[in-house]
């Protein structure tokens, strides 16, 4: 995973609440391997009509925001389905940070595993930042993950992020490698757990029928 420390980039306003993972990546693209280009179908049904024409009023369709790396979104961003491919789609399109008042729990966890920052600010701050980037789209927004600040327009905002997620993003940590260092504890735990809770093991072995 790529580290995230600081980023200055254009920010696109999407100040709608409840942009759930079905909106970020419609279910019909879930069978695509990531290599097929999930970024190309990001927000597909919000960006395009049924005939594949761009919807003019969707901010991401404006030329100057197509190179944005930061999203300024409404509350409950990424709620709903656990599909990690929604994060792949955002990341592969080029986004590295989403600013919103709240995020779906599973989405936020998927984001940190893939180097995407979820920055939590108040509803009022989102409205402020969306207004600032709308009136001056060319002016970059700066995210400083170490200091947990966002510089947008003429103001500096503090944002919240789970401290463990922040650490992981700053260092580009890999969970699996970390877990490996606890291998002995895991083995010991699994033996003791089975002795303590013998019923936790299925009463019979599974059989394969396809």
């Amino acid at each position: 995973m790529e580290k995230f420390v600081q980023l200055s980039a254009k920010a696109c306003p999407l100040p709608f609440s409840n942009l759930n993972t079905d909106q970020i990546l419609p279910a019909r693209y879930l069978k695509w391997p990531r290599s097929k280009g999930l970024g190309t179908v990001l927000f597909q049904d919000l960006r395009f009509d049924a005939d594949g024409n761009q919807k003019k009023d969707f901010p991401l369709n404006q030329l100057l925001w197509q190179s944005a790396k930061i999203l300024v979104a409404g509350r409950n961003f990424g709620g709903g389905s656990s599909r990690e491919a929604a994060v792949y789609a955002l990341y592969d399109y080029g986004f590295r940070c989403v600013i919103a008042p709240s995020f779906g729990d599973i989405f936020a966890q998927n984001a940190v595993k893939n180097g995407l920052v979820t920055a939590v600010v108040s509803d009022a701050d989102v409205a402020d930042m969306a207004a600032a980037v709308s009136s001056n789209p060319e002016r970059p927004v700066t995210i400083d993950l170490d200091r947990r600040t966002i510089v947008c327009g003429d103001r500096t905002y503090a944002f919240e992020i789970d401290p463990v997620s922040r650490n992981q993003l700053l260092n580009g940590w890999d969970d699996v490698d970390l877990t490996e260092s606890y291998r002995d504890q895991i083995v010991r735990f699994s033996i003791e757990h089975r002795a303590r809770q013998p019923w936790a093991v299925p009463a019979r072995a599974g059989t394969q029928v396809s």
Partner: protein, 470 residues
């Protein structure tokens, strides 16, 4: 004396392998369910040259992409066929048991796990699906995870998690006839909001919840995620133990007796503290339907949809306008005046035998005014329903009786609501385009879907119950 603990705390501490200084815990996973969507995770595992750590604790179920019609033929769509085949290949290669397309036990993972006795009290259960919260109905700690976490569980049988806050939702009183678990769930979601339980593990309690059957509790816990809660649970009791007795993978004989003794301790201590407490009056919950594009857009059936011009908050007013516009409903319209185009009965929320019985009780001797699909939650549920003659009732009413899978809840097997059509649905998400691009979804209970079917519009089920056993 030790500190009083909540059920969440007890389940957490019995699965904690280590806790880091930053407060993150490595948790042991007792059951891992995988479906066709797990291909990203298997690829990640293979890319690292790793294998599955505990194949005996991992179970595969084909549900998301399986066809619900024409199973005797090969799957026509090659991409969908590849998804089902891919799961077979990945599970076979890793020696993971699979309830595959042709298995008589096949069904929706959140129906099959409990039905087979794989889901038990006290377990930590994960699956790459947000509705894994369903299994919390047994007093298990169960939650949905993304592909990277699925890969981590495959490789290590553990998961790094931060301890959530604890929320207790108590519902007390006697639910009126025609009101069930789905109505209770929607009432809760409307009350706390679609993101109200974010960061929390929910424990459901109170006399209304206690009297719910296991199937009702599963419906309730299933919808926890629609309030933003990654997991929801009900403390196990005699109802739970009775449901589990004799299930294929559940403990038997002495082992069952010892297990129920241990499971009986899985309850919050009397003095345990919760970070948030919410109480609802179960006596006054009416049948509920959703009108908008998030599950908290839910109202009693005798209400009118909101009127944005009466909303003082401009942000909320804009949301209401957009939602009504997508749903093609005039502001302030009575819910019972909204006509529907089709119905769907199925999904991990409401497809179990009691759900089918509740819908059939309304449909018996009546005809649906709109087309519709009934997809039982598992192949076992299907056989049981056919044994009870429920399939005849659905067919005689003009609905299609199909095989089991996620079907029209998410539409990725090809069961879609056509664009612009309005569907009364027993599913869990009324998101824009959830049942297909441009589809409009109203969530409600199986009995309420049946009432809408015979009425041709959203309708109160209660008058239709007169002289019938619900």
């Amino acid at each position: 004396m030790s500190e009083p603990q909540t059920l969440v705390d007890k389940l957490w501490s019995t699965h904690e392998v280590v806790r880091r200084d930053d407060g993150t815990s490595l948790l042991w996973v007792d059951r891992h369910y995988v479906h066709e969507g797990s291909f990203h995770a298997f690829s990640q595992m293979k890319a690292r040259g790793r294998t599955v750590a505990e194949p005996g604790l991992t179970f595969g179920v084909a549900d998301h992409y399986v066809p619900t019609r024409g199973r005797d033929h090969a799957i026509a769509n090659p991409e969908i066929a590849a998804m089902v085949r891919n799961l077979e290949a990945n599970t076979t290669e890793s020696h993971i048991a699979l309830f595959g397309l042709r298995d008589p036990r096949q069904g929706i993972v959140h129906v099959v796990g409990p039905e087979q006795g794989l889901t038990l009290p006290g377990l930590l259960i994960v699956c790459g699906d947000s509705h894994t919260s369903t299994h919390g109905a047994f007093g298990a700690y169960a939650f949905g995870i993304g592909a990277s976490e699925v890969a981590h569980v495959l490789m290590t049988q553990t998961l790094w998690q931060k301890r959530p806050k604890r929320m207790r939702i108590s519902v007390d009183g006697t639910a009126t006839v025609g009101v069930g678990a789905k109505d209770i769930a929607l009432a809760i979601i409307a009350h706390v909001g679609a993101d109200g339980a974010q960061g929390h593990a929910i424990e459901f309690g109170g006399s209304t919840i206690r009297t719910l059957s296991m199937e009702g509790r599963m419906t309730l816990c299933n919808m926890s995620i629609e309030a933003g809660g990654r997991c929801g649970m009900v403390a196990p009791d005699a109802t739970t133990f009775g449901y589990l007795k004799g299930r294929p993978y559940a403990p038997e004989g002495d082992a069952y007796d010892r297990a129920t003794e241990a499971w009986s301790a899985l309850a919050s201590d009397a003095e345990a503290r919760f970070d948030r407490e919410i109480t609802l009056d179960g006596n006054v919950i009416a049948p509920i339907v959703t009108w908008g594009t998030t599950p908290d857009d839910a109202l009693p059936i005798d209400a009118r949809v909101p009127d944005p011009s009466r909303e003082g908050d401009p942000v909320r007013a804009k949301y209401l306008r957009d939602a009504l516009d997508y749903m093609a409903i005039a502001p302030g319209k009575k819910l019972t005046e909204i006509p529907i185009d089709r119905v769907f009965i199925g999904s991990c929320t409401n497809s179990r035998i009691e759900d089918l019985r509740a819908a059939a009780a309304i449909l018996a001797g009546r005809v649906s005014k709109v087309p519709g699909l009934v997809s039982p939650g598992s192949s076992s549920v299907k056989r049981q329903a056919e044994g009870e003659g429920l399939d005849r009732i659905f067919r005689d009413a003009g609905l299609e009786w199909a095989d089991s899978g996620c079907s029209m809840c998410v539409g990725i097997n090809g069961d879609l609501v056509p664009s612009g059509e309005r569907c009364a649905s027993t599913t869990n998400r009324n998101f824009r385009g959830r049942q297909g691009p441009g589809a409009r979804t109203h969530l409600m209970s199986p009995a309420m879907v049946a009432a809408a079917a015979v009425s041709g519009h959203l309708a109160d089920v209660r008058p239709l119950l007169a002289g019938r056993k619900p």
